[in-house]
């Protein structure tokens, strides 16, 4: 079955375009302050209003797309890059290596994600790059477990034995023979992981542990809006809607991918 395009894939495409073309799409500089239009309600000039420094909220959201997608996709990429080889190694490396790696993975899983991310930020220091690293570490166990489960089941297959019998070395068996066959569940997990990463990054930024002001981060914008809920209720509503729509689309895309890969 070919993947069906629907509203959510279109929305995701739109988000990617927005992130790439942010300087063209945004009417204002996301950091430019303007004393005359502080906390303005939505109008023609500022379709989503302005914040406490008179910055255009729409422009900040557009640039915030860059932050969210960059960290969401980047952190997931890092998690896959570390987690999948770790899982394959665990599945193929024999019981001792398996026990060591899986204990480590279980330990990471024993710490609630938000807590683990907060702890890592506490060590690494505040900031968006460190938050991305923390989000990536949180994502590693799921990919390691998926890759290990796949590697364990493919290990006993005849084509693996054939590859070994033909004299393929360890790395070739792991990455050329086994990896392509265990990719499906991992690919399905990717959009879910990206959506989790975006929420986690936004949560960290909301708590003041991720992106620091004046960066246009969605989570940070919701946090800053709290002080002006009475004067400008629209301030905090738009970033939240955008996060929810992005996450909804990514989860929907995961369903599409699942159907497409027939899992």
């Amino acid at each position: 079955m070919k993947p069906r395009w629907n509203v959510s894939t279109l929305l995701l495409a739109l988000l990617v375009f927005t992130a790439l073309g942010a300087p063209i799409m945004a009417r204002y500089d996301p950091l430019e302050m303007c004393k005359a239009t502080v906390l303005a309600l939505p109008s023609w000039a500022h379709p989503m209003g302005t914040d406490q420094f008179g910055r255009d909220i729409l422009s900040r959201l557009i640039f915030g797309t860059r932050v969210a997608l960059l960290i969401g996709v980047g952190a997931t990429f890092m998690a896959v890059l570390v987690g999948v080889p770790l899982g394959v190694w665990s599945g193929l490396g024999g019981p001792r290596i398996d026990a060591i790696i899986m204990r480590g993975v279980d330990t990471l899983l024993a710490i609630p994600p938000v807590l683990l991310a907060m702890a890592l930020v506490a060590i690494l220091g505040l900031g968006s790059v460190n938050a991305a690293v923390a989000v990536a570490v949180v994502g590693i166990p799921q990919f390691a477990r998926l890759a290990r489960a796949g590697a364990l089941s493919e290990r006993g297959m005849e084509y693996t034995e054939a590859a070994v019998a033909l004299g393929a070395n360890w790395g070739r068996v792991a990455f050329r023979t086994i990896l392509p066959n265990i990719l499906s569940p991992i690919i399905v997990q990717v959009p879910i992981a990206v959506s989790r990463a975006i929420i986690l990054e936004a949560s960290l930024s909301f708590l003041g542990l991720g992106s620091q002001p004046p960066a246009p981060s969605w989570g940070l914008m919701v946090n800053e809006s709290r002080n002006y809920m009475y004067a400008a209720p629209s301030y905090g509503i738009f970033p939240g809607i955008l996060i929810a729509l992005t996450v909804l689309s990514l989860n929907n895309m995961a369903d599409l991918v699942r159907k497409w890969r027939r899992i």
Partner: protein, 320 residues
């Protein structure tokens, strides 16, 4: 049974030990001199030396770990570097508040998950079921912090039906306590209600096709009795495990919810500790939460084994 329990307990112990190493490494991993990082540039050399001695930084690392874990086991978690309070006192004060929040959230979870889960499983083609599925999808996509801010704005600032934030102890004024807990409870419980609702639905759908359900219907039992007494009771077994998974989500959500509503629980304490670089408090709260989380997972596994005889007899259960 006992062999299974012992093995699960040993696994939990090992996980706790490894997690404690990780938490311990937190302070060790601070760049540069931990004492300097903790106290800042304004600290006098005497203060730095005192903290170094207290942390035992001059000792080899395994000795440092053993000393730390011995103190922790004795309940001596150290002192806050910001206000000098004993960490144990901070925890004793904050923990019951988080527990109350968890209770409220659990109430919301049950109120949402059981009716929606049972309804969708028993009316798979109805229009309302489609609506409920949409609702679940949205509820899971909405970030906890935004939901909190939105509820606080709508009910607290705009309509003024409920306090937008804050906490009043139950002993002081039960009515105000309840009014203050509703919004945080809903914020924390809404997502969980959808997770659980979907699980109850899936578990129930699985059970409803079984032979014994057909038997129950065949012997003339009412539909309500079939679902609530026969099907749901059997469906509850997989639902139990979700509690284990959910606990992690819950603890993380509590941190965010508490910071939105200024509820003075463990989450707020942790958040403040991280922002003010109060690393001993951070370390202790994370350790206590991890132990709590591991204990919950263990209890869930034990409960699971108690209700399902297949698990306790299976060899290597709990391993993927």
């Amino acid at each position: 049974m006992s062999a299974y329990l012992i093995r699960r307990a040993l696994e939990a112990l090992l996980t706790t030990f490894l997690a404690s190493l990780l938490v311990f490494a937190m302070v060790g991993a601070l760049p540069g001199d931990p004492a300097l990082v903790m106290l800042g540039d304004r600290a006098t050399p005497e203060q730095l030396q005192a903290l170094r001695a207290y942390l035992g930084i001059d000792q080899p690392i395994p000795v440092q770990y053993l000393r730390w874990i011995r103190r922790v086991l004795q309940g001596e978690l150290g002192y806050s570097l910001i206000n000098g309070y004993p960490v144990s006192r901070i925890l004793v004060r904050a923990f019951p508040i988080t527990l109350q929040l968890a209770g409220w959230a659990m109430l919301i979870v049950l109120l949402i998950s059981f009716p929606t889960g049972v309804y969708v499983a028993t009316h798979p083609r109805s229009r309302l079921s489609t609506l409920v599925n949409w609702y679940h999808g949205c509820a899971l996509a909405v970030p906890v912090f935004w939901l909190g801010v939105l509820l606080s704005w709508f009910f607290g600032v705009w309509t003024r039906w409920l306090p937008p934030s804050g906490y009043i102890p139950f002993s002081e004024n039960p009515m105000l306590w309840a009014r203050n807990m509703i919004l945080p409870g809903v914020t924390l419980g809404l997502g969980g209600g959808s997770i659980m609702g979907r699980f109850i639905q899936a578990a129930l759908e699985d059970v409803l096709g079984r032979d014994y359900i057909r038997t129950a219907r065949a012997k003339g039992l009412g539909e309500r009795a079939v679902i609530w007494l026969h099907a749901l009771r059997n469906a509850l077994i997989p639902i139990l495990t979700v509690f284990g998974i959910y606990a992690g989500f819950f603890i993380g959500g509590a941190v965010i919810t508490e910071s939105v509503f200024a509820t003075p629980g463990m989450g707020t304490a942790l958040w403040r500790a991280i922002l003010s670089r109060d690393h001993l408090v951070t370390q202790s709260i994370i350790l206590v939460s991890v132990i709590g989380f591991v204990l919950i997972s263990l209890l869930v596994d034990v409960a699971y084994a108690l209700v399902d005889p297949r698990i306790r007899h299976e060899k290597g259960a709990g391993q993927v």
